[in-house]
Amino acid sequence: MSAPSLALALSLLAGAAVAQDFSEGSDAREWGLYGESKAFFAATVVDPLCELTGDCPDNCGDGARQLALLREADGVMVLPLKNGQPAFTGGANELLPFCGQAVEVDGLLITDAELGAQNVYLVQTIRAEGASEWIKANRWTKDWAAANPDAAGQGPWFRRDPRIAAEIAREGWLGLGPEEDAAFLKEWFQ
């Protein structure tokens, strides 16, 4: 093994063994979560099902699939669980416009060894590599509103979503059926 090859191999080994700090340059907003750390990094937007299995539809599945960030610095595949909205909304819609593209992202990594949380992420802002303007990762509710123009009622999307409403109507808030729900609600709101 040549000296440069050995050096490269050892640097990869070191990179894999030691979690890197990606907080430098981050302007991410803290959420006060246990295990959160600010993380700004360059990456390529990938379809993890494609990366892992070779099943690779056009445009990363056109929004049907979860998407991931293949980090430039170390090749780690980071999975965004969350976008920047405090509204029970994931990250895939935010990444979809950048499928296959090099981007920069800013947000929060969540790390909790006890629970097995590693390389999972809350994406707050994203921009194509070389772009000057950041885009806030808050398009999810706009996408939902466009897809559900007839959703009735007041309040946030999750109170008006037809699929969620149907599940609750069928199985109750606890998911245990109408009878258990009724008994619980009587006690819960006493």
């Binding site: 191999a9 080994l13 959420w31 979560l33 049907a64 595949m77 994931g90 990250g91 097995g116 999972v120």
Partner: protein, 152 residues
């Protein structure tokens, strides 16, 4: 040549760390609860024991429909991110994953380990026990606002 064992050991370790090695798959059968991985990992709604099961079912519906990755919290305590169930690869808010929110299922499929995350491609759900984790008996509803006050 006298350094060969050291180099071989180093290369083996390096090989294990490279992404290509993590893309090898293993067929497994795992029994676990379909959970909302954001609330579980982040602690945003409380401790891990409170953000599973019936207490958290409504929030699990919100998060699944909202495109937060669904995971199976296995009996081994590990979380398996579900990328596909049968022919349905709609892991971003899809109907199949929504329909099993908080259910304890047994899934047969392929496990891919990559960068500390378990990814599961489910070939078949071989058993669905519905919701059996009755956490509302200990925690009520989490978050507390999940069920609106009567009349709201």
């Amino acid at each position: 040549m006298r350094h060969f064992p050291t180099l071989a050991a180093g290369l083996a370790l390096i090989g294990a760390a490279l992404p290509a090695a993590a893309q090898e798959a293993e067929r497994i059968q795992v029994t676990g609860e379909a959970i909302d991985t954001w609330c579980y990992f982040s602690g945003v709604m409380g401790g891990p024991e409170a953000v599973v099961g019936s207490s958290h079912h409504t929030c699990a519906l919100w998060c699944s429909a909202g495109g937060i990755p669904v995971g199976l919290l296995g009996e081994d305590g590990q979380v398996y991110m579900v990328l596909k169930i049968g022919d349905d690869a709609t892991s971003n808010g899809g109907d199949t994953q929504l329909s099993i929110a908080s259910h304890t299922i047994t899934a047969d499929g392929m496990l891919y380990k990559r960068d500390g995350i378990n990814y599961l491609v489910v070939a078949e759900v071989v058993a669905d026990q519905d919701i059996i984790n009755r956490t509302h008996e200990d925690f009520g509803v989490v978050p507390g606002f999940a069920i609106p006050e009567p009349g709201q």
